[in-house]
Amino acid sequence: MILQCNDLVKKYLNKTAVNGISLDIEKGRIYALLGPNGSGKTTLMKIAAGLVKPSSGTITYKGNPIGVESKKRVAYMSTEPFFYNYMTVQDAGKYYQDFFEDFDAKRYEELIDRMELGMKDKAKTLSSGLAAKLKIAATLARKAELYMLDEPLNGIDIIAREKIITTILEVAREDATILISSHLVDELEKIIDNAVFIKNGSVALNGDAEDLRVGRGKSIVEIYKEIYA
């Protein structure tokens, strides 16, 4: 078990973002965290990344509380841009290299090339699609144990989506665990092991993707429609 959540709750002043989530994330599998906007996916990831403290409940990374050690091993990609405007693509790589000891500069170069970015491009001038690709290249150039990607396919064209899917699959070594949040279910359907459906801050359904498909005689996309319609 790499990540274990037990009755996690996160309350903001007048809103409950996460409302009693218990979830076990097993090593070496690819998980889709599914649900519409505002269902609590991002808050859950932020708690696991150690950026948000839960109001109650527990969460452990390999049996230990979330902290400095887990942050070294977890590569988290948020939906917000996380590079400064003055940085070039090359600077962004160096910045990441300084922060994370598992960052592979050579791999970063490769991914920048694949995403058709230039090392000299300024972060400020990148279109939203290119900025999204930069975040993905930086995150996936780490040799982390757990990757958490929040909406990695948002705002990205179909061709580039394919490239991102390929890169995610390359990262999916036997010991790497991947958690992808998305409301683009179709794109994820064939690459995931598990589907976790989040609704109003709680887990509505969680299971092995193939078992869900066979058990219900429906695709993940159809199950999604059923849950959220």
Binding site: I165, T166, L169, A172, K190, G217
Partner: protein
């Protein structure tokens, strides 16, 4: 490859590999891609890829040489039976569909002959 989301992915990939074997794209005894390569080729989950080889081994369509990889069967008769099996299921679907449209066996045969003549 375009996937149909209503059929298990491993079933669809196995079907595609079988088709390659029948067509001769994959030769008897040829080495198959590793599980990871297969996952990247079809853009599928790596655990699904290893399941595909497990299923194909059970069906004796391929075999694993320890430490060397997975290979297409060398058994010609196996290939023949795959071909017949695939043709059989295509025919079943075809006949079922035509029967639903109310075609009789005779009409169907006539229609097929006509189709081939005008092809």
């Amino acid at each position: 490859m375009e996937f149909n989301n209503n059929i298990p992915i491993y079933v669809q990939v196995i079907h595609d590999i079988k088709k390659d074997m029948v067509n001769g794209v994959l030769a008897l005894g040829e080495k198959l891609p590793s599980g990871r390569e297969l996952a990247l080729k079809y853009k599928i989950n790596p655990n699904t890829a290893s399941r595909i080889y497990k299923e194909m081994e059970t069906e004796e369509i391929c075999y694993t040489k320890r430490g060397l990889g997975t290979y297409v069967t060398e058994d010609m008769s196996k290939l023949k039976s795959i071909r017949e099996e695939m043709a059989g299921s295509l025919l079943d679907n075809f006949i079922e569909g035509m029967e639903q449209l109310g075609f009789t066996k005779e009409e169907l045969i006539q229609l097929l002959e006509y189709k081939y003549e005008t092809k």
